[in-house]
Symmetry: C2
């Protein structure tokens, strides 16, 4: 049979990162390609104990039974408290549990966008957002940015030109660049999007992974009109394998996204939800993050030091204060897509920056992840990169 | 802010069953409204032990780390064996793990249907299918059926008239009717859909819950052209709270649905997946089903006996050989939508059959679930129904 796939899905291809994820089953390859938390920071013992306690408790049957789409009520209560501590106001009905942060992107686009609509994104942006948008026939247009965040003049110009439905941003330790928007930039984004009635999706999976510098309030904290939806996840803080995130928005928006989730997966695994709840309720999350931060900081420092030592002078890169990524750019237009095979042959992997662009830009860029390799491997890997890109 | 939701989602409302699920927090209400497995059949002890073993094993870190979209490789190996034992041939690349069977419906429609397309369904059909179709702007047209299954003449006529993209069926212990298609009907469905190049989604969450009568091969077993996608779930066999299902189709179809899943939730909870794998690998599933079946059989028998005793003669109903549901129809056109409030006032809940219809039919029908109330409650509940519907 010749299959005739839907118009929206015909052009959607697998994520470059996911494809590389499969490639990396070769153990000799040092991968800077993923966005995986450090294995050392995955709390197997705590989760084993918590799972056992939960399932042998009076709640055990409820955990294995069907649950509500919005998420387990007692988890939602903890999430409201957690959100408050993060500078976000939310009542119970302004918050829903997600099967990972990725689902928040899917449900947001489903709720707001029609085929042919435009969504503005930072250029470069999180590539899964580009993929999800594509799966709905939504067109992404890039907005310029600098070290302070989005270029507000360009944002307003693009709003006027393209009449977008929404803006998508990762304002703290951005994927892929590792950059953080200033508070002023966040405030300005809220003002200009509110002025034109544009929805904003703030994707914030990394902000808690800050090991230096001052915290910046979430963009959502500057939202006075309810046009910002905030999505975050416990993938980088507890475990990505459990698939738990949550989002915050006005009640009407959360209600619509909840109906979207009913259609998608009915509800998130109750066991995963209850495990995250115990991390919050039992005060395990904060100490766990405190243990993880120095590990990430050391890896980031090692990578930055090695980049200085082994990479050519034409390679410029970000110096993140948190998160998982370093973003690099060759000022001499070295093509990172063409170099990729050679890198794999040298047993090192990165992500070609081009995949993060809404247009055809970024051929001279790459993203490096430092969280999932130990310092020794990082040294070895960057040394190999240095060979590939010829210091 | 006034929200402008997407055209597709504007008209999608919450599922009737989900709304009733929330209503049922009143403990005095006896609910025949859900589709919940018996709490007695939820294996809390086994899952507690397995979780603990998994997370303290060498695999613990991998379980908490990101996984592949297709599902854990070792689970997929077990699923291939399980599928074989169910009369289904599938290689590893013809199978993918789902976050519950519901996700299979979503990914199938996403892969194949454009806004405005028609999908044929049995009338009545699983209401979540109608909701998901609606969320994609896909129109459902009902096909007639009788005790042997779909009316093949009507199916072919509707194919010619509406040029549908796909047909959706629940051929074994159908939700909502509890009926099972004959092998002849299944073969005929495969032939006629293959003839016109129509995709088929076979939804099969209930077939293992058979306590009497002969097993009928899955519809997919009669598929010679690769136009049938088979979806099933462990929600009714192990636990709905874990959210694990899987689907089978030709490699090209599974690949497209995998990309759809990447967009939706990246992957299913690894912990949930590994738990299901241990049930299969450790030979726990079959004994567990053997313990569950007499419980369901007894509840079904109690309900059927009580319906005979307490309901008026104008009420006709199915006598299922398995599954979770009895389907009833008032021959005197009693309106079950109008009677619902009175039922709740009498502390008993059912689902108005109308919600399962692709058209405005079924006002004189209702669905009763027998799996989630013990025999004493069933007796009490049907007695209350008898009062509401006045024997």
């Amino acid at each position: 049979m010749t299959y005739k796939f839907s118009n929206n899905m015909q052009s959607v291809t697998g994520l470059a990162t996911r494809e590389i994820f499969k490639l990396l089953s070769k153990p000799e390859i040092i991968s800077f390609a993923g966005g995986l938390p450090a294995n050392e920071c995955l709390p197997t013992e705590a989760v084993a104990r918590i799972s056992n306690e939960l399932l042998t408790s009076a709640e055990g049957k409820a955990i294995l039974q069907y649950g509500t789409t919005e998420g387990i009520a007692t988890l939602r209560t903890e999430l409201v408290k957690y959100a408050t501590s993060e500078g976000l106001k939310a009542t119970d009905s302004e918050l829903m549990v997600l099967s990972g942060g990725q689902q928040g992107i899917d449900l947001f686009i489903k709720a707001f966008c029609n085929k042919g609509d435009v969504v503005l994104v930072e250029n470069p942006t999180f590539l899964a957002f580009l993929q999800v948008a594509n799966s709905y026939g939504v067109r992404c247009i890039g907005v310029k940015s600098d070290d302070k965040g989005l270029d507000i003049t360009d944002l307003e110009a693009k709003i006027k030109e393209h009449k977008p439905k929404a803006l998508y941003v990762v304002p703290t330790f951005s994927n892929p660049t590792g950059k953080t928007y200033t508070a002023e930039c966040r405030k300005a984004i809220c003002e200009v999007t509110a002025k034109y009635g544009i929805m904003v999706l703030e994707d914030d999976p990394y902000s808690r992974l800050r090991w230096t510098g001052d915290r910046v309030p979430p963009l959502k904290a500057f939202d006075n009109t309810g046009n910002v939806v905030y999505v975050t996840s416990f993938s980088k803080l507890i475990s990505p394998g459990l698939r738990v995130g949550f989002c915050i928005g006005e009640q009407e928006v959360i209600r619509k996204m909840t109906i979207g989730k009913q259609c998608a997966d009915l509800h998130t695994s109750n066991l995963s939800q209850a495990i995250v709840r115990e991390f919050l309720r039992g005060g395990l999350l904060e100490p766990h993050i405190k243990i993880a931060l120095p590990i990430y900081q050391k890896r980031a420092k090692t990578m930055l030091d090695c980049l200085a030592e082994y990479m050519p002078k034409t390679f410029e890169y970000t110096k993140p204060e948190g998160g998982l990524f370093v973003w690099g750019e060759f000022k001499d237009k070295t093509n990172t897509v063409q170099k990729f095979e050679q890198a794999i042959a040298n047993n090192v992997a990165y992500i070609q920056g081009q995949v993060f662009y809404a247009d055809s830009g970024g051929l001279n860029t790459l993203r490096l992840n430092f969280s999932n390799a130990d310092p020794e491997k990082i040294k070895q890997g960057v040394k190999a990169l240095g060979k590939v890109f010829g210091k």
